[in-house]
Every structure is written in structure tokens, then in C-alpha cells.
């Protein structure tokens, strides 16, 4: 589903960190994982993905390194760092509180059916 870019912008880092907290992935893999694990609800644009990964790398929330996979093809794998885990935890708390607040605001209309 295509969301308003501003809506997705704020939670994109948390989404990526959450996916990577389950294990290292390369860009394409990460993109597919976001779609699959969100039930195809969330789609991170390719033009957003790589700049985001590089920014997270700059903030030392993720770490990237080149590795060969089984097919001897080199991929740049990204893994979450300790700092990234702490940041993820913090953002989860904030998202939870925000969800609760929004729910109250919209009179429970935001709760999943």
C-alpha cells in the first residue's frame, strides 16, 4: 500500500531496525522482508531504502559489510548494532504511546478490525 510519504518517513527507520533485529539482510532482502512481514501493507520505496540505510549506517545504528552468499555473489549485508537496538527499543516505546494516543483520539477507530 502506498502511504503518504510523510506518514512513512517517521517510522521508516524503526521499521528497518526492527527487521534487522531479526538478523542481517542485504537491501533487496530487506525490502522484501518489510513487505512480507507487514502483510504487504508497508512498502518502502527503493529511493528511500538505500539513503535510509546509509543514514542509519552514518548514525552507527546499523553496520554494513560485504559478504559472499551461497551463490558466491557479493552482497552488502546490514546488521543492527547495539546502539541501533537501544534506539529501536526507544522508538518502539514512543510508537506504542503514539498508537495509544491516536486510538483514544480517533475513538478506537484505529484499532485493527
Amino acid at each position: 500500500m502506498k502511504f503518504e510519504s510523510q506518514l512513512l518517513k517517521g517510522i521508516a527507520p524503526a521499521v528497518v531496525l526492527e527487521i534487522l533485529s531479526g538478523g542481517q539482510m542485504y537491501g533487496y532482502e530487506l525490502s522484501r522482508a518489510i513487505e512480507q512481514r507487514s502483510g504487504d501493507i508497508l512498502t518502502l520505496g527503493k529511493g528511500t531504502l538505500y539513503p535510509l540505510l546509509y543514514n542509519l549506517e552514518a548514525k552507527k545504528l546499523v553496520k554494513g559489510k560485504w559478504e559472499k552468499n551461497q551463490s558466491a555473489r557479493k552482497r552488502r549485508y546490514y546488521s543492527i548494532t547495539g546502539k541501533g537496538k537501544a534506539e529501536l527499543a526507544k522508538q518502539k516505546v514512543q510508537l506504542k504511546e503514539m498508537t495509544a494516543g491516536l486510538n483514544l483520539l480517533f475513538g478506537g477507530a484505529l484499532a485493527p478490525a
Binding site: G27, G45, G47, P51, Y54, N55, E57, K74, R76
Partner: protein, 540 residues
């Protein structure tokens, strides 16, 4: 990061993808290693995305969708570049920023340096010729004593070492061998002495300055100084001549030669380069010392005293000034001519060559001038040079006492000269030292006349005067001798059979006529402690 697989993948991707990645990387504009990594990453992403497509048309269509999903390559390249830059370690960021700042500063300096590098000086004045005209002052060559002195130097025979080791002695102190040595040497130097006498009879003296190259500062002083050691040796030869004549009883001839030596010294003063004038001061002081010694050692007849007084009074009266700094300006005028442009109206801007001459002692001003390229123009530089030398003249004309009594901030001459170059200050001797030497020779002249006047008085009256006013009232002296260290007349006291005449000296205190001491412990004039006693002579 590319390997064989990646190269193969890249080749298998549709042209639109390759082109998209290429455009993105071009917009990204980063280090090659980083671009290669990004290229590899994007290539593998597209490869993975298109892996399911079996047909070319399908692949092409899917590629089109992916490219659209990626978005504008220019914007993406910018975003990726920014993100990659953030990945740099802090030290690298600091280094890059520092280099950027340095680059901007260098660019700024280069741009602002352009006016310094563009343009040429106009060498419109031959300042060597200017200097020669200044010192000659329109006089005829026949009036010039210099050729005689130069010839005298050529004819002068080098002093025997034994005599050089006994400079404070008089011929009467020598044994027969020493006397013969002295006589033979003076006979060999007779021509030199005679030429010196001839030169002393000339009305004036001026040098003929020249340089071997076009830059004054390189050769002018060097060439001018070549003759000075010869002058010094000539002066000492004359001194021995004077002493021998005095010891032989030929006092009149000795006095005459002493006056010639004094004239020789005064010829070098009040014009020309400062170093020449300082040598002139030393030679005149040497001559005066010999006259004082003759007056003390021998019974000088009245007519010799009278004649000596008149000749000295006439000589001293013709020359008030001791030091003139006009010729010293020649270096600065020439430096300005070579370091500034000439707009034809007396002004011009600084060129690179002139930079050393505008650096001042004020570091803040220098830094600000460099950063803002706010250098003095030609007119300002000339004005500063004139102001500096005017201040120097003020110091020379003020007595040491007056200089001492000035408030502390007024004594700091440099404050009043804002941008006088550091080279100017370092290339001129200390103000106060030159001033002290100037006042010494002026005081010596007055003292000599006063002592001769007192001796003449004594010869006529049978006793010394009660005070200096007595000499004036009797017509033996025209003015009271000034003590530059008290700004009052020299101290005179009649003693039982003599008199004492002294100055407060550099310590500016009246020590009651107690002479200062030299390093050897003997009485010495012009020491930092004690009075400077002119009569009786120190050491007696």
C-alpha cells in the same frame, strides 16, 4: 567490490537500468571506492528484482517500474551523497572541513594578492645620483677633501704591531728602540700625514657613492664602508705624529695637527651615511683627546693657546650639526620606488616586492593588514618614513636630560609613528645611543674651548677664574658650556692651583666631581656612574 558475478549481472541488466545507475552515480559525485560500492549494491538489487523475469520484454517493463520506484536519479544521488558523507569518521570530516577552509583562505589570499603581483614599479629616480647631489650640495670638486683623504689612506703605512699594542703610551715612554721604530714608521707615513693636512684645509668633504648593482641596500653601505677602516688607521697615524711632536717640544705643530685631525673628523659629520658620521665623531673625539692631553702634559704658550682657541672656535662655529639623517632616507626612497607602483601623481599601490618594508612591529596590525589587504599606499609610506626620521631628529636634538625628564609614554617614539616598518627600526642604531654620541662630541667642543679659555685666563691673570662667568666677562669665552646631562652649565670649581670641570654624566646626578670608573678601575669619562670629569684629565 566488483567481482566476476557482478560484472556479469551488470551486463545482463537492461540498458535503462545501467543508464539509470550511471546517472545516479554521476550525480552522486563521490570517491571512486564509494561509488563502486554503491554501484555494486544497486546492480545486485536490480539483478535480484529482475531475477524472476524470463523474457526481455518483461524484464524491460519491470525495470521501468523499478526505475520509477527509485525516483529521480539526481535527487537520489544527492541524498546518497549526503548520507555517505555522514558516514565519514569525525576526524575525516574535520580534516575535509579544515582543508576546505584552508582552500578558501588560499583562494582569498590568491585573489587579493593579484594587485600585489600585477603592475610594475617605475624607477624614475636614480637615488645614488640623488644622494651624490645631496652630499655635494652644489660645491666645486676643488673644495672636496675626500681625494686627499683617499690618497692619504693609500700612502699610510700599516702601524707596527708593537705600537698598536702600546696605544696609550707617549713617545717619551719608549726606549731607544721603540723611539726609532716610531720615527721610522712616521717617516714612512709622512706622505699620508701630509695628505691628511691638505685635506683638512679643504672647505668640505663628500663621498662619491656608487653601487655595482641596481639595488642600493645591497652595495651602497658596503662600498661606502670600504674606506672607513683606512680612515681609522690614518687617524691613529696622525695621533702618533701629534704625540711625537708634542714630546719633541714642537707643541705648535702638534696642536696644528690635532686641529687638522679634528677637522678630518668633523668633515665626515652632518652629511652622508650614518656610519660615516659615527666614524667622524670617533675621529674628532680622538683629536680632542690629544688636545686635552697636550694641554695637560706640556706648558703651552699663550700664543699657541690663542691660536688654537681661535681655530677651534671658527671650526666649531661653522658646524652646529653633528648628525644628519637625510642621506639615510635614500634607502627607503629607493625601496619605495621599487616596491610601489607610480600613478604619476606621487602615489601608488604596494607591490609584492615592497611587502618586507611595510611589516611593522605591531603584530595585530600586520595580521589585519594581511587579512584585509589594507597596506599603506606610496604616499602613506613616504609620510611614515618622513615622520620616523623627524622623530629621530627630535631625539637627537634633545639633550639626554630632556629625554630623561620626558614622561614615559612620550619617550616611546615609536608610538607616534604608526606603521614604521620593522626593517626601518632594526636597520637604524638605537636613538638614544646615537643621541648620546652626538651630545658627547658637542660637549667636548665646548669643554675644549672652556679649558683653553681657562688656561689663557690663568696665563694672563696668574690664577684661574672664580667661575665660568669670569671667562665670559674677560672675553675668553663667548657662551657658557652646556651640560647635556643637567641642562645647566658644566660644573666649574677652582681648586688650589687648578680647576675642575665636569658634567653630571649619564647618571644625571652631581657626584661632586667624583669621576666614573672604567672596567679596569681607572677613572673614565661617560660611564654610567659618577661624573664625567673633563679637567683635570681622568687618570691624573
Amino acid at each position: 567490490m566488483t567481482n566476476e558475478h557482478d560484472k556479469k549481472d551488470s551486463e545482463q541488466l537492461p540498458g535503462s537500468v545501467t543508464e539509470f545507475i550511471g546517472r545516479l552515480l554521476r550525480k552522486m559525485r563521490y570517491r571512486r571506492k564509494v561509488l563502486e560500492d554503491v554501484k555494486a549494491e544497486l546492480t545486485s538489487h536490480f539483478t535480484d528484482e529482475l531475477a524472476d523475469c524470463t523474457e526481455e520484454a518483461q524484464k524491460t517493463e519491470r525495470a521501468k517500474q523499478l526505475i520509477a520506484d527509485f525516483g529521480d536519479p539526481k535527487l537520489l544521488g544527492i541524498l546518497m551523497r549526503r548520507a555517505k558523507k555522514r558516514c565519514r569518521p569525525l576526524w575525516q570530516k574535520a580534516m575535509v572541513r579544515s582543508l576546505q577552509v584552508l582552500g578558501i583562505c588560499i583562494l582569498y589570499l590568491l585573489v587579493c594578492s593579484i594587485p600585489l603581483l600585477v603592475g610594475k614599479p617605475t624607477l624614475s629616480v636614480d637615488y645614488v645620483e640623488w644622494l651624490n647631489e645631496l652630499v655635494r650640495a652644489g660645491r666645486e670638486e676643488a673644495e672636496n677633501a675626500r681625494p686627499y683623504y683617499e690618497k692619504a689612506c693609500e700612502l699610510n703605512v700599516e702601524m707596527p704591531k708593537w705600537l698598536a699594542d702600546n696605544m696609550s703610551s707617549w713617545p717619551s715612554d719608549f726606549n731607544d728602540a721603540g723611539s726609532k721604530l716610531l720615527t721610522d714608521w712616521l717617516d714612512d707615513s709622512r706622505g699620508a700625514v701630509e695628505k691628511l693636512r691638505e685635506g683638512a684645509r679643504c672647505a668640505g668633504y663628500w663621498a662619491n657613492y656608487h653601487t655595482d648593482e641596481t639595488r642600493l641596500d645591497k652595495d651602497l653601505v658596503g662600498n661606502a664602508m670600504k674606506i672607513l677602516p683606512g680612515y681609522r688607521r690614518l687617524a691613529f697615524t696622525m695621533r702618533w705624529q701629534i704625540r711625537r711632536q708634542a714630546d719633541d717640544g714642537n707643541v705648535e705643530a702638534a696642536m696644528s695637527d690635532a686641529i687638522a685631525l679634528s677637522k678630518f673628523g668633523s668633515h665626515l659629520q652632518a652629511h652622508g651615511l650614518l656610519i660615516e658620521q659615527l666614524v667622524g665623531i670617533a675621529i674628532e673625539a680622538l683629536a680632542h683627546g690629544e688636545i686635552f692631553s697636550i694641554l695637560e702634559r706640556t706648558a703651552v704658550h699663550s700664543h699657541i693657546l690663542n691660536s688654537t682657541y681661535q681655530q677651534l672656535e671658527e671650526q666649531f662655529g661653522r658646524q652646529e650639526a653633528v648628525i644628519s639623517l637625510e642621506a639615510e632616507k635614500v634607502f627607503w626612497y629607493d625601496a619605495i620606488q621599487r616596491g610601489f607602483t607610480d600613478d604619476g601623481q606621487g602615489n601608488g599601490r604596494l607591490l609584492a616586492r615592497g611587502l618586507p618594508f611595510v611589516v611593522t612591529e605591531n603584530l595585530t596590525d600586520n595580521l589585519w593588514n594581511i587579512v584585509s589587504f589594507n597596506f599603506p599606499d606610496r604616499e602613506e609610506m613616504v609620510a611614515e618614513i618622513e615622520r620616523y626620521y623627524a622623530e629621530f631628529d627630535n631625539v637627537l636634538s634633545a639633550t639626554p636630560r630632556r629625554l630623561h625628564d620626558k614622561p614615559a609614554d612620550e619617550r616611546q617614539t615609536n608610538h607616534r609613528v604608526k606603521i614604521a616598518p620593522v626593517l626601518l627600526k632594526h636597520n637604524t642604531p638605537a636613538y638614544t645611543r646615537v643621541s648620546a654620541l652626538t651630545w658627547r662630541v658637542k660637549t667636548d667642543r665646548q669643554t675644549l674651548l672652556t679649558v683653553i679659555a681657562a688656561l689663557r685666563y690663568e696665563k694672563a691673570k696668574g690664577r684661574y677664574p672664580a667661575d665660568l662667568n669670569g671667562l665670559i666677562e674677560a672675553g675668553y669665552l663667548k657662551t657658557l658650556p652646556l651640560d647635556p646631562y643637567s641642562n645647566e652649565p658644566l660644573v666649574y670649581r677652582r681648586t688650589d692651583d687648578n680647576f675642575i670641570l665636569y658634567s653630571f654624566g649619564p647618571n644625571l646626578k652631581d657626584d661632586g666631581g667624583i669621576s666614573g670608573k672604567g672596567i679596569s678601575g681607572k677613572n673614565k669619562q661617560w660611564t654610567d656612574e659618577g661624573d664625567t670629569v673633563f679637567w683635570p684629565l681622568p687618570g691624573h
